[in-house]
Amino acid sequence: MTQVILFNVLNGLIVGAFYALMALGLSLILNLSGVINFAHGGFLALGAYLAYSLAPYLGFWGGLALAPFLTAALGLIIERVLIRRLYGRDPLYSLLLTFGLAFIFQDALRFLWGAQSVPYQIPGWLASPLSASLFFLTGYRVFMVVIVALAVTALFLILGYTRLGIRIRAGTLDLDTVSVLGVNVRVLRNLNFGLGIYLAGLAGVLAAGMLGLSPTIGDTLIMPSFVAIIVGGLGSLPGTLAGGLLIGIASGLTAVFLPAGTEAVIYVMMALVLMVRPHGLFGDAGRLR
């Protein structure tokens, strides 16, 4: 039993890492631009489908490398045309707009790739457990963690050491001052949105290896990602990361005792965290009113 619990905590961490990847993208956009992006699941699904369609030409690795960039490119365009109109307005309009976008995404994906799930093939050596004694770890899950770790490290390096990243962080704290200091805030927000969507696309490709690829693939992933952000606290990317890992562990542990409760437990956990810490684990006071 102890062993089962241990295995589940480990797998919970892995799934949590995946949620964290998606949540980090959402969090980046929310922090700098105050936009609650309900279309994130749509971008995720698009990333997955692009990888699926690219795979016959570029192979699994080509798809993995290129699809998130293509998704991010669309993200940049959508930010230019639509999302930009939301800045400085009540965040509720971002809800209406991105809900609308999510609807459009789902229909468009169904139109292009069909309603039925498509088989997304991953390399054989990833699609099996590591070894007989490590049966509780599949090659794909280890691979996922590696990719997430690389992406998160890269993200924190970008934010910590590049000019763009430093500006994004500064903008998150005080956008007006950053603007006054001569930074082109429009470009900054545009690139930041693209960065967030890149993470969504990457999460999509990773999800497609584990889940059935259908137009609704992102629907069930979006709410846990929001929960991860809230548990970690708005405004804190390390908090988002921690929130993702925590909800992963919580549902992994619950699965041992009451598998039916794995969905409910993350909400219970969020409620408990907020009762004790009204701004999440690492968050600042919710600036969004």
Partner: protein
């Protein structure tokens, strides 16, 4: 002048609602659709009571919608077959739920508040889903029907007569919206507006902000559970998904679509949302993208919601 225009608008609105069962069929509508619009409009107005006039976003009002619905349905199924008793118990359960939840979360603000309300809705969903011996679980609460109203001297057959049921719902919506309007005009309502405009200043003025938000939350939940009970009666059916965040999301969208600072905005939002979904989905499988496009266009062209534009012209 402004007041007069507003009043004329309200009178026209009520004339349209009062005659709806007779003109709707001319435009391809049907009574059930009109009733649905009214019920969801009431739910959206209740969300807006909190959102538009207190400045607090609840993304979990489905919790009270569901409590009202299950309260009403289970009363008729298990306790006593009376439409009015079911409604009363549904609302009481909703209020009780809101009093407890509200007390626990009233310290939270902004997105945190919204998310924790989702959490409570999801927990109720889980309970309704799992406790199938009582709630019917995933199959929903069936095997009961709304009952004709017994007024002593006469009976109104709201069960078989759809139009009679429409008018019952309209009466409920009228009573609730009058109550909301009165509340908003009272000193209590003015205080809520003050909190919406500047919470910190309100606090400095010595207003017990948390207590007011709690009271506003409970009032809003009470109206939402009326809508929930009526919704259960509409189909003689309750489904655990009435509790889920997607349902709450629909209410918020209706409120924002119609214009969240205006009193009747959510009603317009609900009408647009429900009627369009009904009509477009009969024509094409791709109705979601058309509805989605509408949301996008609304944000781009109606920055304050559909009614917001009208209001701004009036200088309100």
């Amino acid at each position: 002048m402004k007041n007069l225009e507003g009043r004329i608008g309200t009178i026209i609105l009520w004339l349209l609602l009062l005659t709806a069962p007779y003109w709707m069929p001319l435009f391809g509508g049907y009574t059930g659709l009109g009733t649905r619009v009214l019920v969801l409009a009431l739910a959206a107005m209740s969300v807006n009571f909190l959102l538009g006039f207190t400045g607090v976003l609840s993304f979990g009002h489905a919790a009270f919608f569901g409590l009202g619905a299950y309260g009403a349905g289970m009363t008729i199924k298990y306790i006593y077959a009376s439409t009015m008793l079911g409604l009363a118990i549904g609302v009481l359960v909703g209020i009780l739920g809101a009093m407890i939840i509200g007390a626990m979360i009233v310290r939270l603000r902004g997105v945190y508040f919204a998310m924790v309300t989702i959490a409570f809705g999801q927990v109720f969903y889980f309970v309704a889903f799992r406790w199938s011996s009582l709630t019917g679980g995933d199959d929903g609460l069936t095997g009961w029907k709304r009952v004709p109203l017994d007024l002593g001297v006469t009976q109104i057959d709201i069960l078989h007569n759809d139009i009679a049921f429409y008018y019952l719902v309209l009466v409920c919506v009228a009573v609730c919206s009058a109550a909301m309007a009165l509340l908003l005009r009272s000193p209590f309502g003015r205080t809520l507006l003050a909190i919406r405009e500047n919470e910190r200043r309100a606090r400095f003025l010595g207003i017990p902000v948390d207590k007011h938000i709690w009271m506003s939350f409970v009032c809003s939940a009470a109206f939402c559970s009326v809508a929930g009970a009526l919704y259960a009666y509409l189909d003689n059916f309750v489904d655990p998904r009435a509790f889920r965040w997607e349902q709450s999301g629909d209410f918020v969208i209706m409120a924002v679509l119609g214009g969240m600072r205006s009193f009747w905005g959510p009603l317009i939002g609900a009408a647009v949302f429900v009627v369009l979904q009904d009509k477009i989905s009969s024509v094409t499988d791709y109705w979601m993208s058309i509805l989605g496009l509408l949301f996008v266009l609304a944000v781009v062209f109606f920055p304050r919601g559909v009614l917001g534009v009208v209001k701004r012209k009036q200088g309100l």
